[in-house]
Amino acid sequence: MKNITHNLEPVLQAKGLMKRYGTVVAMNGADFDLYPNEVLGVIGDNGAGKTTLIRAISGATAPDHGVIELDGKLVNFHTPDDARNAGIETVYQNLALSPALSIADNMFLGREIREKGIMGKLFRKLDHKQMETFARDKLSELGLLTIQNINQAVETLSGGQRQGVAVARAAAFGSKVVIMDEPTAALGVKESRRVLDLIQDVKSKGIPIVLISHNMPHIFEVCDRIHIHRLGRRLCTVDPKIISMSDAVAMMTGAMEPPPEALAAK
């Protein structure tokens, strides 16, 4: 088995992350590397700590210990806003949408566009039209919504459509890294396909992606590298072109030891 080595420096790197919730250890010295131009899959059992890991990277949860580096520079995200400003865009497992607000409002929450001219400058009036047009375009690209629905409240959408809004938002605004925590969990076959295509689109723009999923065919199809998470830490990273799905699952569940070269290639 060939080592996955990188001459490049990681875009995003985490070392020795720790997080405790009372007696539960959600991260136990977790490491993480994301390299330029790659789609990194993160797999692991329920409760392995995948969500906690990406929440730490995206500023949503403060780790107890450990360091996070973006482009080799130490970062300290206190809020999700800090991570967003650094160009890290995340689709959270619970989607993080405001149910009573419209689709367009949700897409632009926290980065609203103001009108040009005096109304925008002096009275800080928002440019609803521009935001709606943009939101509509992004959602049509994803093929999840019809045009007349852009002003409907998110709570009136189906679970899959909501997921589509969250995915479209992250893909549209991520400039450095896009992280997706189970973005296809609620989606149908056709919609999942569109999200996978979108992941390739984002990648082709040169933006690396982290994809957390329990769907092995999806992971093996789009990922360049797979990070296997187990018991609050990275067990190893493997190459989906070399390793089989069943071996990956066996490692992730502890039924099989990872190959030594995969450990070395962390």
Binding site: P80, L95, L101, L109, G110, R124, L126, T146, E221
Partner: protein
């Protein structure tokens, strides 16, 4: 790109996206959607219908004089209800608005009447104190993470005690205000008297303030964030909203509005008393709830709250003109609150 076998038919799949043909277009669901999309529809209808009904019961009610009296009566409640709406939209509650209001009236009154401070400075100081008290509430809610009900229950007592101390438990008389700082009474003066109605500057201020905050909530980022925080604070934070900062600013702005309301209140009452406006906390919450704003946050509007205040005014004035006793007026308003809350629950159930 590789596709799994079961996906091969996708290429020939219908590429039209879901068209929302809804089959639940029953009368009830239409009503529900209308109410959800136009939240001020219900209070507006209730106001019109109740004005008509009281006009039939007590014909004197429909005179311009009486109707404008209702507006005068609810001016201060309406202004403070705007502050209360902002806070309730964030799923909070403010029991200290009355104490902030009255303490601000004393700062304005004492400085200008007793110490001869120029009026603009006295008014600015009163509004600044109001803002500060609001910000203190906001700090405790956002940073110390205490429940708004408990925080403002505590500061209600704290601010009330400060009010009694600062006022020396004494009123500032109308004659003293008129002699030393007559402009403090400006909002109580009549701006126009069309057809025997009396429109005060205070009444106009209420309408303008409501328009300003309607604009802010609907058309600025801060306004959208207020709704988002009340809707789902976790989602708002993950969406990149600085929730703590926004929450503190909401309470501070509410304090500022109460400070402004203090100036209007001096004009409305004509004097400054430490025991005035003791019922305004509950009165504003009543107005907000009747106006269709949800106590659970994230839903509601400023115009609704002003309409809510007007509805309460119409009921109390109308019932008293009809010769109904005070306690039946309370009874009626209480029932309005219960109906409004039940309606809100029904709307929420429909969406979750």
């Amino acid at each position: 790109m590789s596709q799994s076998e079961f996906e091969t038919n996708l290429n020939s799949a219908d590429s039209a996206v879901a068209v929302f043909e809804r089959d639940d277009r029953t009368f009830l669901s239409n009503v529900r959607n209308a109410v959800r999309n136009y939240p001020t529809l219900v209070p507006a209808l209730v106001l019109i219908v109740s004005i008509l009904i009281f006009g039939i019961i007590a014909p004197r009610f429909l005179s311009p004089g009486v109707l404008s009296l209702v507006l005068q009566q609810v001016t201060v409640i309406g202004i403070v209800a705007i502050a209360q709406t902002l806070i309730i939209l964030t799923a909070g509650i403010d029991l200290s608005v009355g104490a902030i209001l009255v303490l601000s009236t004393f700062v304005m009154g004492r400085l200008s009447v007793s110490y001869g401070v120029p009026l603009p400075i006295a008014i600015a100081a009163g509004m600044a104190i109001g803002t500060l008290m609001g910000a203190f509430n906001g700090f405790l809610v956002a940073k110390i993470k205490l429940p708004p009900f408990i925080v403002t229950l505590g500061t209600l007592s704290v601010f009330t005690a400060l009010k009694l101390w600062y006022s020396g438990s004494e009123s500032i008389r109308n004659s003293d205000i008129e002699a030393n700082a007559p402009s403090l009474l400006w909002f109580g003066e009549a701006a126009a008297r069309p057809f025997g109605a009396t429109i005060t500057y205070g009444g106009i201020a209420l309408i303008l303030l409501a328009a300003v905050f309607w604009f802010i909530l609907q058309h600025t980022a801060w306004g959208r964030h207020v709704y988002a925080i009340g809707d789902d604070p976790e989602a708002a934070a993950l969406s990149g909203i600085k929730t703590d900062r926004t929450l503190i600013s909401v309470y501070a702005v509410a304090g500022l509005i109460c400070g402004f309301g203090a100036w209007v209140a001096i004009g409305r009452v004509g004097s400054i008393s430490p025991i005035s406006f003791e019922e305004i906390n509950l009165a504003t919450i009543t107005a907000v709830v009747i106006g269709g704003t949800s106590l659970f946050g994230g839903r509601g509007s400023i115009p609704g709250s002003v309409l809510g205040a007007l509805i309460v005014g119409v009921f109390t004035t109308g019932l008293s003109l009809a010769g109904v006793d005070d306690y039946w007026q309370m009874f009626a308003v209480g029932n309005l609150v219960l109906i409004a809350v039940a309606l809100d629950q029904w709307l929420r159930r429909a969406t979750q």
